[in-house]
Symmetry: C2
């Protein structure tokens, strides 16, 4: 839960309600209207918000808790794209272009989300031009995150390198929001980390072991701390 904010924005710390990151630039009536949209709900761990290939009837904002975005191949192999955090807006692309979801969203801790029905969202965007621009910005963030995902998979030499990249990213995110030390609590199993880094469970175990032995990271229970960012950086190449 204190694992935080990947792409920090200026408003991040200031906003008491983190569900409104996208809104920080909305003004006046638009903001008021937006807040009246949608309905908030509280979800237990492991609940599916939406699924790959479902048709999109609503976008959802994460208010609290982490959400795993993944997709699955016919053979049952699954790939985790990213862990979405409070403030992220899921399914925006599908809602806007009226297509099906490409990914499955599942909570990995108890979470609070706000669902906004597609037609309400569209009507809102229709009404406020500035909001459309913000939506476009949000989409371009979504794009970048997919892009960096692909880039990490494609451009790192070793599998350990990809893992290092993921840890580094999270360490940096932690700095952006909480204390100055790059530590965060890991809500994923080794298996899930493997799916995220495109490798196998065993390799993750071994790599994490090696990272510790090499003094790159420190693990105590489920809290990770990055000791040598530059070391990880080198590996992730």
């Amino acid at each position: 839960m204190q694992h935080l904010q990947p792409h920090a924005t200026t408003c991040c710390k200031a906003c008491t309600d983190r569900s409104m990151r996208i809104l920080c630039d909305l003004s006046g009536q638009a903001r008021i209207d937006f807040e009246s949209l949608g309905m908030q709900m509280r979800l237990p761990k492991r609940s599916i918000i939406f699924q790959e290939d479902d048709s999109c009837d609503a976008a959802t904002i994460i208010c609290e808790g982490q959400v795993k975005l993944s997709c699955t191949s016919r053979e049952g192999k699954t790939h985790i794209l990213k862990i979405a955090l409070p403030g992220d807006l899921l399914g925006l692309g599908a809602a806007i272009s009226g297509t099906r979801f490409e990914v499955t969203a599942e909570t990995i801790e108890p979470a609070v989300v706000k669902k906004i029905r597609r037609h309400e969202l569209l009507a809102f965007l229709e009404k406020y031009g500035q909001a459309s621009m913000l939506a476009a910005k949000a989409l371009s963030e979504e794009y970048k995150s997919a892009f960096f995902d692909a880039r990490r998979l494609a451009l790192s030499e070793s599998t350990a390198g990809r893992l290092a990249g993921v840890l580094l990213e999270w360490g940096r995110a932690a700095v952006g929001c909480s204390g100055a030390d790059m530590s965060f609590t890991m809500a994923l199993t080794h298996e899930e980390l493997a799916n995220l880094a495109g490798t196998s469970r065993e390799t993750v175990t071994r790599a994490l072991g090696k990272f510790q032995r090499d003094g790159l990271i420190e693990i105590q229970g489920s809290t990770f701390r990055v000791l040598s960012p530059s070391g990880l950086e080198n590996l992730s190449s």
Copy 2:
């Protein structure tokens, strides 16, 4: 050049000027205004439209020719995300969110493009709410293409599978626009195909050889034809 249209839209064939795919839904004055934007230019093969980490001063529409979108790691390894085709709008995300380009765009054949300065584009989007929505749609396409890229890299068993996925995609694109046979002209070298599929040049050569021997594809000079879509499909898993 007759290699065509990846995500076909209804307007694709009807538009005489393919540079306006994004505009097909624009109406009246907005459309007229848009056409007056930007400036068209003709580029030789191998010219760089923009580069990774350049700050974005303009988005560009491809009117003719294929454009390679790639990114490079510190070690000099390069990954090709996709081959952009006439009708694609490049750098939209960077233009809207005011960030740097994540990729390098380079023509692989003589091309005609239209550059639209960033502030003109923003002013236009500001003025026409509907256009912002279309921009958002275009961005969501961009997102999907990055997503499928990552998905292909992550979820296919073999390297041959990834290559099969790429060929299949292009074969399907060809059907969408030209004749009913899945044939297209390959403008990439094996080396480039390797960078696209995340493998090595030699492996591409061998895989293509095997695909032919297995009757999955047919290669004559630089024209490829997909004979067994289902066969490729199985491999790409």
